[in-house]
């Protein structure tokens, strides 16, 4: 396919691909091909469905589409049949014959493969009625699970590149800037800086200095427990590209980069494919849609350094240098990549841009909190994508309007805590964020409320923790992560983290003292005031927020040498509950150190001196007869 014109785009939207017969299918079988479902063999499922459709003579009527991440990863591989809107879960190749025959031939959806709420009897056939989906508001993820991300025509047919048309033909760069500013769109990568203001500063700096500005898309999603950007790229790469091209038009960039994690092979491949397709269509390159605008994008791979998510470190690494941040008293919008004015936004921010241009800033600002039209700092408009994971029933990717409460997210969408356990905390903002307790569950989720509570929005990781999660260990985990990922350039970060880790190690081993908490807080303060970049200044949030909301747990470790959650290994020991053990013997072969002995159908015993507390027996015991008891320090 050669270059397309605006007319061609309209044709694709109206009646299928020009030149190719616009075949209408009566049904589409949408198979999730996000990384999660792929790992559950969804490609094989898709293949089996295709074979079966062929076999049952439906090839002219039913089409199989491999889509991006549908979000409900816990239930994968996921298949959705449209236009019926039926949601199927856990679909393997072996289910294909029955599904095609019963649903698509006989019109009787297969109940066995539908989703059932925990504890309920009857399944919920329709996707839109499943609580996980019902409460969501899809803006960024508008095309998720609906289009084939590897086909540009699918995107165009779903009103793709319409905003670009508008931005190139009907709007001046100033009008685009004003629209983005009025929408209140704030950066989704963590900082929450208003995108419109950033774009404008970059444009101004470039004009002032007569230097070509550069556009960067940050897809170096490093926060552990977060996969929003990966899923957006995997399910709708063209949305990101379209946002970037509109941004390039507004700022005046000819050159753009996507800096993407090496650990995301599927996303990287889809993005590269999308760029090639856009180039073929003339939507990237010289004279885009005959508007006179030139812009092209290069994909650059990150090599696994968390600090490279920081904008100055990312730019250093783009230049082929060590990914070390620099002080930001000179802004990157003025002097960024190779000292050129550089505008960096994250994947989700870019994916928001086309919708804002299409639907207008008013529509966007009507979602969320605060009145942002005059001043974007006054609230949080739009939606936010979160990865809802951890100790919650429905794990996966969700998009919700800003201002929704944590309770709605965790209990309505997430379906609460599994296995009868109690909610303890929800962690937001990655290693720079904090842990929020039950008392804050009714807090609205927006940039400013989260910061006020001692956490932050971050890029959107939301990890739910239950009564079996030790908050001291969580703090230790994040500090240990950051200690490894700190680039070591500035002393407060390098030394502050190492010292904090030593203290937290001590506490989790039951060797902490009461002064340790004060010391931790003091180090945190110094780091907040003196570190070079956001990695360091926010590094103490996990420690401070856990001390603030879960001080009792720290005290239990320090004063009583106990870990209430039963996690810290030095403070617990395993034992067998004689009331529960029925002698099923499953734990005996599972134990790699032969610490458990007993005859079948008789009470088993555990030798505490041999036991290495590896958890293998707990995993196989169906009666929860293995206990984690506080370790006796006597003798």
């Amino acid at each position: 396919m050669p270059r397309v014109s605006i007319e061609d785009l309209k044709k694709i939207r109206g009646n299928g691909k020009p030149g190719v017969s616009s075949k209408k299918f009566r049904a589409k079988v949408l198979v999730c091909a996000g990384t999660g479902c792929i790992s559950g063999n969804s490609y094989k499922t898709a293949k089996a469905l295709e074979t079966e459709i062929e076999k049952q003579g439906l090839a002219q009527q039913v089409q199989v589409v491999k889509t991006g991440c549908q979000g409900f990863c816990a239930e994968g591989p996921i298949v959705i049949v449209q236009p019926d809107g039926i949601f199927y879960r856990g679909v393997g190749p072996k289910h294909a014959p029955k599904m095609i025959e019963e649903h698509l031939l006989n019109g009787k959806p297969v109940e066995k493969l539908m989703y059932t709420l925990p504890g309920q009897e009857h399944p919920i056939p329709l996707l839109k009625e499943i609580p996980f989906f019902a409460k969501q508001k899809l803006v960024v993820l508008r095309n998720r699970g609906a289009i084939d991300p590897e086909k540009i025509d699918d995107y165009i047919a779903a009103d793709g590149y319409k905003a670009l048309e508008k931005a190139l033909t009907l709007m001046t760069p100033e009008q685009i800037l004003s629209e983005i500013k009025k929408s209140g769109l704030r950066g989704r990568g963590g900082g929450g800086f208003p995108a419109g203001i950033k774009w404008e500063s970059c444009r101004r700096a470039a004009q002032h200095r007569h230097v070509d500005p550069v556009l960067v898309c940050n897809a170096d999603e490093g926060d552990p427990g977060a996969f929003m950007d990966r899923s957006i790229i995997e399910s709708d790469p063209h949305a990101v590209l379209e946002g970037m091209i509109i941004g390039a038009r507004a700022i005046g960039c000819k050159e753009g980069f996507v800096y993407i994690r090496h650990e995301y092979p599927v996303a990287r491949e889809r993005l590269s494919k999308a760029i090639e397709q856009a180039r073929d269509y003339g939507l990237l390159g010289k004279n885009i849609l005959d508007s006179g605008v030139d812009f092209d994008i290069e994909v650059v791979r990150g090599a696994g350094a968390f600090v490279c998510g920081e904008s100055t470190a990312l730019m250093a690494s783009l230049e082929g240098n060590l990914g070390e941040p620099r002080a930001k008293y000179i802004h990157t919008v003025e002097y960024g990549y190779k000292n050129r004015p550089t505008n960096l936004n994250n994947v989700e921010t870019w994916a928001n841009v086309p919708v804002i241009i299409n639907n207008g800033s008013k529509w966007f600002a009507s979602m969320g909190t605060g009145e942002v039209t005059e001043n974007p700092w006054e609230g949080s408009s739009g939606t936010k994508v979160f990865s809802l994971v951890g100790k919650v029933h429905n794990t996966g990717l969700i998009e919700v309007p800003m201002g929704i409460t944590l309770r709605e997210i965790v209990f309505n969408i997430g379906g609460g805590i599994p296995d009868g356990h109690q909610f303890k905390a929800v962690q937001t903002g990655g290693p720079s964020g904090g842990c929020l307790p039950e008392s804050l569950l009714d807090m609205p989720v927006d940039f400013d409320s989260l910061t006020e509570a001692g956490s932050m929005m971050g890029s959107g990781g939301m990890i739910v923790m239950d009564d079996q999660t030790c908050m001291v260990e969580v703090a230790r985990y994040f500090i240990s992560f950051l200690t490894e990922e700190s680039c070591g350039k500035c002393v407060p970060c390098r030394e502050g983290l190492t010292s904090s880790l030593e203290i937290l190690d001590r506490i989790t081993q039951g060797k902490g003292s009461e002064e340790d908490l004060e010391l931790l807080e003091e180090i945190a303060e110094v780091m907040r005031d003196c570190c070079f970049c956001a990695l360091g200044t926010s590094a103490s949030n996990p420690v401070l927020s856990t001390i603030r909301y879960f001080k009792k747990e720290y005290e239990a470790h320090i004063k009583d040498h106990q870990c209430p959650a039963g996690v810290c290994r030095e403070l617990i020991e395993y034992d067998i509950d004689p009331e529960k053990c029925d002698g099923c013997h499953a734990c005996v072969p599972a134990c790699s150190v032969h610490a458990i002995t007993g005859e079948v159908k008789e009470l088993h015993t555990l030798d505490k001196t041999e036991c290495i507390k590896c958890g293998a027996c707990i995993e196989v015991c169906k009666r929860q007869a293995i206990l984690k008891c506080p370790r006796s320090f006597a003798a």
Binding site: G36, P224, G302, A303, I463, C614
Partner: protein, 162 residues
Amino acid sequence: MVDTAKVDEILRRHNSKRENIIAILLDCQEHYDYLPREVLEEVSSNIGVSVTSVLSIATFFRTFSLKPIGRFPIRVCNGTACNIKGSNQLVEALERDLNIKKGQTTPNLQFGLDTVNCVGCCGLAPVITVGEDVHGKAKISSTRKIIKRYRAMEKKHAESVH
């Protein structure tokens, strides 16, 4: 001795440019499975920076390895979701199964074991990856099965070659 012919090809692909050094090293890592000294020296002399500078990049980023990572590099995800669902116990189980420590490779270079910060499959936590394969909802009891599967795969492959 390591054959560095491939390095030259990779360098050409990236125009031997200093700013492409990370991409060059990533491609080398992909081809050689690790970054042997000879490769670092070849890259250094071709793009005109000191070996020390190349080494500093090769040790700064986690993806690079200076020793072989094994034909099946096993990575236990240690993202937050995986961590609170017991990824440490999986690492220990694999250490016992493979008789190596985290960060090491088995003497026959079949398996390497390490952790990775987050592979973004948090909905399936805890996750183990082997090469580009993702194994979700992993259990202590599944580590042995995973190892067995790759051993069998390699054996089958070897037999089909002969």
